[in-house]
């Protein structure tokens, strides 16, 4: 029965044309999306066809512990159709930030979508879920975010975890994580979870994931950490335009030096590009304008797990938990080295005292042999 309801939904193409876009705009959009997803030329037709014929997928977009920067990033995708159609139309079903309804009506809309499209809708989650104190740290409409997630996840076809909050808890899960902020994949069992980390993720990446879902009707290929391979299989480092300076060993030593002016590699001022998997170097931000490294700032690794706790942003050295923020592995290592050297020196002195008779005996024996040889 639910399928019948869905076919009555307008297609994306119908919505786009109704919004006043031309056929040309639509084709341009399809081409752009195909490129972002990493499809080849011939697949543009497939994307266009899917948008023309597939009814729009109902989407529920939930906001928990987050700052809405993912939504902000999404509506700044380089093509206006992304915001207009994918977000505006798609998320009309329920999204706290942009829906017109409020209060009981909003809750009603959520409930309706969940029952009407059971097993069909995509659940997008922005933000982490606090599990401490029975989840009271994040409550909407009298329910904890844990309850809302459980209810919404039950009938979802797939779940998209938007941003680092939903993927790994981001800043609110940083030590000591007072609210026990928990990422979505640890709470939802038995549903595919697509992780789209980043603080925020790139708008085009987010749009690409959704377009992939509607073009192919299945979730994109994911890596071992559950991220779409099309966007998270390369390190920022490997697509960085400053990479030749890295290989040459030419580094910025401080932010105000000549090397910074020359645009050298930011490795020594803490760039996490070599450890960060994201599409920043290729897709860039704000319609391909720039990305942090291009603006002279090292990558902080915002799409990597626990990036707030994984050492300092502006240094390569790795902070060592429990030894104060100024201690890193090398400081601890040097202290251990000193202690070891002192212990060995002590042992050497002690050996000469406590094994003196054995050593004397050896020496005497050696000397005796020497004499015999001469004799």
């Amino acid at each position: 029965m639910s399928n019948d309801v869905i076919t009555k939904q307008p297609t994306y193409y119908q919505e786009i044309i109704r919004k006043g876009y031309s056929r040309r705009d639509f084709v341009r959009f399809a081409g752009m999306m195909a490129a972002f997803i990493g499809l080849e030329n011939s697949a543009i037709g497939q994307v266009a066809k899917a948008l023309e014929t597939n009814p729009r997928i109902p989407i529920i977009w939930l906001h928990f512990q987050e700052c809405t920067c993912c939504s902000e990033s999404f509506i700044r995708s380089s093509h206006p159709i992304v915001a207009d159609i994918l977000l505006d139309k798609v998320s009309l079903d329920y999204t706290e930030t942009l829906m017109a309804a409020s209060g009981i009506q909003a809750e009603e809309a959520l409930k309706n979508t969940m029952s009407k499209y059971k097993g069909e809708y995509i659940l997008c989650v922005e933000g982490s879920v606090p599990t401490a104190a029975d989840g009271v740290y994040c409550m909407i409409g009298g329910k904890t975010s844990m309850q809302i997630l459980d209810e919404a996840a039950e009938g979802a076809k797939a779940i998209i975890a938007w941003g680092s909050c939903a993927c790994n808890g981001c800043v609110q899960a940083a030590k000591p994580n007072p609210t026990s902020a928990t990422p979505i994949h640890k709470l939802v069992k038995g549903k595919p979870v697509i992780k789209v980390p980043g603080c925020p993720p790139i708008g085009e990446v987010m749009a690409g994931v959704i377009v992939h879902l509607l073009t192919f009707g299945k979730i994109p290929e994911l890596d071992r950490l559950g991220r779409p391979k099309a966007f998270y299989s390369k390190r920022v480092h490997d697509t960085c335009y400053r990479r030749p300076f890295f290989d040459a060993g030419l580094f910025v030593e401080s932010f105000d030096d000549e090397n910074a002016q020359k645009g050298y590699c930011l490795y020594k001022v803490g760039c996490k590009g070599p450890s960060t998997y994201n599409a920043c170097g290729v897709t860039k931000w704000n319609g391909g304008t720039s990305f942090p490294i291009q603006s002279g700032h090292p990558c902080i690794g915002c799409s990597e797990e626990n990036f707030w706790d994984n050492g300092r942003f502006y240094e390569r050295g790795s902070a060592f938990a429990g030894f104060g923020i100024e201690s890193d592995a090398d400081t601890v290592g040097k202290v251990a080295l000193g202690v070891t050297a002192a212990a060995l020196a002590g042992h050497a002195i002690y050996t000469n005292i406590n094994k003196s008779r054995i050593i004397d005996r050896l020496t005497a024996e050696g000397k005796a042999s020497e004499k015999e040889m001469e004799g």
Partner: protein, 252 residues
């Protein structure tokens, strides 16, 4: 010097470290030195500036290249040593490294008392005689093998992403276990310090044993020979951790 205990010993020559073990040892030492030097360089490169265009320089690239080459040598050498733990002589056998018996643990305790605390027994200075590794040394080497394993897992795990070969790709699951490259890199860096501390203690103890025992400890890794007094050998006063059951062994 009283002549009471002065007697020139007849020494028996024992082939302890076979050629493959010696080659393994020195290849391993060279690889570890290269890995530590280039590893420090990679973690905090020195500011060597140049007027050359970046396209004419590949300095950091070469440093990393040496690190990766050395890691392959280290890795295959390590695999070979594991094989030799089954194929080599009894001093190279895997049972010399893993405390699988009470006897092994008892000997570790004895070594601790005699060579680290240097305790006396009835006012007499004590000596602990082994031909291959003593039990304590064997166990420490076992720990180094675990450190080797950690470095290979984390190192090749980090390297997997930039390689097209299937071998490093086998390790691509490692960063996923630690949630990403950042923590994996840190574990790789911390573990390196174990190698530095181990190397210093190791070299010191080689000198210590040679100095106190006079049985060719230092030179044994060159020619493979160690020497033991004939009467010690005859009276079976030497120790071997986990000896084969047929062998008659001395008591502590």
């Amino acid at each position: 010097m009283s002549t009471k205990y002065l007697r020139v010993h007849r020494l028996r020559r024992i082939y302890v470290w076979e050629l493959p073990v010696r080659i393994y040892h020195w290849l391993n030492a060279a690889a570890i030195i290269a890995l530590i030097v280039t590893g420090f360089w990679i973690s905090d490169p020195p500011a060597l500036m140049s007027n050359q265009e970046a396209s004419n320089r590949f300095l950091f690239g070469w440093v990393r290249y040496i690190h990766f080459i050395s890691s392959y040598i280290f890795f295959f050498n390590f695999l070979f040593r594991i094989y030799w733990g089954f194929a080599g002589n009894k001093y190279a056998d895997w049972k010399q490294f893993i405390p699988t018996s009470k006897r092994f643990i008892r000997e570790m305790w004895t070594v601790f008392k005699i060579d680290i605390l240097m305790l006396k027994k009835n006012g007499e200075q004590q000596e602990h005689i082994s031909i291959g590794h003593n039990a304590m040394a064997g166990f420490i080497y076992f720990l180094t093998f675990i450190a080797f394993l950690v470095q290979c897992l984390t190192g090749f795990g980090l390297y997997a992403g930039m390689s097209g070969w299937w071998l490093p790709k086998l390790f691509s699951w490692v960063p996923a276990v630690f949630g990403g490259d950042i923590l994996t890199r840190q574990i790789h860096h911390w573990t390196m310090w174990f190698f530095i501390l181990f190397a210093i203690v190791h070299v010191y103890l080689v000198f210590y044993h040679d100095y106190v025992e006079g049985r060719g400890e230092i030179s044994s890794m060159g020619g493979g020979w160690k020497f033991i007094e004939e009467e010690v050998f005859e009276e079976n006063r030497h120790h071997t951790p986990n000896p084969e059951s047929s062998e008659v062994v001395g008591t502590a």
